[in-house]
Subunit: 396 residues, 2 copies
Amino acid sequence: MVSCEESMRALAFSARGQSLIGQEMFKVLERARHIEEAGVKIFHLELGNPRLPPPPQIVAGTISSLQRGDVGYTYSAGLPALREAIAERYSAHHGCALDERNVVISPANFLISQFLDLVCNREDRVAFFTPAFPTYWAAAAHIGLAVVAVPLDAKADYRLTMHDVDVAIAARPRAILVNSANNPTGAVYSQSVLDYLAQRCESLGIWLLSDETYGDIAYGASFYTLARTGLPHVVVMSSFSKIFSVPGFRMGYAIAHAAVVNKLTLSNSTQLSCLPAFTQIGCIEGLKVIDDYTAAVRERFSRTNAEISDLVNRSNLIQCVIPTAGFYVFADVSAVTDDDMDFSQRLLERSHVAVTPGRSFGSEYSRHVRVATCGHYDDVREGVVRLIDFARTLVG
Amino acid sequence: MVSCEESMRALAFSARGQSLIGQEMFKVLERARHIEEAGVKIFHLELGNPRLPPPPQIVAGTISSLQRGDVGYTYSAGLPALREAIAERYSAHHGCALDERNVVISPANFLISQFLDLVCNREDRVAFFTPAFPTYWAAAAHIGLAVVAVPLDAKADYRLTMHDVDVAIAARPRAILVNSANNPTGAVYSQSVLDYLAQRCESLGIWLLSDETYGDIAYGASFYTLARTGLPHVVVMSSFSKIFSVPGFRMGYAIAHAAVVNKLTLSNSTQLSCLPAFTQIGCIEGLKVIDDYTAAVRERFSRTNAEISDLVNRSNLIQCVIPTAGFYVFADVSAVTDDDMDFSQRLLERSHVAVTPGRSFGSEYSRHVRVATCGHYDDVREGVVRLIDFARTLVG
């Protein structure tokens, strides 16, 4: 075949095709792969790829399903039993009034694109509170949206305030994305501010996507789901990836008004047909033990993140806000660099530590890097020690 | 939550959101579900959901991978070993000059949307030869494309001719979709016509997606892959769903110029992050036995389709072209109805047989239905007998 460079000139892509940027951490993973192929051990702190063993029930349920031969097509909205189990959990655990018709199964990362595609036209405005998860930027760029970035205050531990909500609303966006518990900051937003945001959006007809992927891993603050509001413009999404340590299952869900669920089901039917039945059946088994499992996960990350944050802050060189949820530390490396891309690249090549550059979370974070603390603890600790040592080599 | 109808008025979706139509056969599946919940047996002839046991190696490979704990994220382009195995098979089996850089893993149904999204802007023209697979219509509607439908001649057994190619090219579309071996007709197109199509597209800068999902199930004619051409504007896609009887794996691939593979990888990264590793590892194991397995599959469907076609044509009421590939029979029911939707709905309710209405393949096929012959043989046969009996009740 013709060389890549030669034909890139001749091959004309669409506007959306030209706007594809992807997720930086998957590019880091790919770069790391080439170093690993030379036999070098890489400390993977770039992806939120939990290395805790998942609940045995979820894997056993998946394997049993495969052994029974559940390898055919299934419903575009997801298995009814899984949709019901999720509705029941939100009803029992969060006091929501939901049933199967309010739940659709889809990969959580895909739901970000599906939501924006469903409610925004090209050149519409969408508001994020930053730092914000890379897929929000990638999906907005792909769809051709103008992003209104509302930076949260590090001095207030990156917690959302009513003032931040007012700033976002004042831009009159078509949609707002909010993410509590937050990736990358580990902040958990208060019920009063989240309700204020939801009510203002509903009253103005602004769509709101509440990404609650890390809600079950809030250990330092009380988590509130916007599914409680039952408002038609509020779409809640979450994932089994993080709470069950199975990101490779590519399984998440949205909770929404039945009319929105119907649209997302058509989106699935058009694009994915359906999802595998066997991993959905595994998730049904997982949901039976979710409370015990996530309690252990919270205990684990509460301890790990306290230790890693402490290690970072004791460096007196790089620093971070102490997270209250999730498994990331968003580290300020401004004392040693103003170029996170260069810093990350050299950290990977010299010290064999992979992190995600801060600007993936917003252009103003080019002096930050995100460290995922969900790998094997010794590896995470060694990776962070190497990160600090590398930073020291850059001083003066 | 508020009722569906009430809020549909208030909820404003995007232009793309309004244009979502989905795939009709998944709606039929959902309707059939409600009848099945009442304890009634439904004969499922609506979906290409193969009920042959898959090769044991693919399931065993998937289960071993799950047991080893391969439940984390992996590369957005797919596992290198799977990409290499596909490149090797096309090199060995079809004489293509390919390597890993020419292969990207993605669900085949999604690749249709990904391809159109990558190369077409809203309101661009896209040409299909009809009857054409429902996802082509759904994806084009979703993206906002103008479809140029080029009907193939039933009297010529729905085979593509150079004249058909000229008609499609004359419309100056931005892209053309071609599907040999064909769903729903079972036609296999000749190398000379396919090469003519590819060369004309390349010379005019028209993108060509060659959907070769059923290529390995061509039993009555010799299958030719356009991957042989190595042309930069030609993107080949295929799936493991049909050739391994595992549609629930949701696993397919595209073969393309490295620049296009890079774009599709960014599309995956933005939308899906990646696919499960364990099902990819299962497919690697499956590829080791593909030649023996698909030989048995071809033998099976050659016999089944001959028998089912014969049954249909002996009715002297409904009729079909005898397929030379795949596992569908595209039945002309014009002797008894001019409304395939009504016909299909009543067939489901009265005779408990689910089929796909013909207009899903193009508006001019409202006097056809598609019958999938890939279920358990006795069920397929019984379903077709019921279909014929139902048709007889409609004869004036």
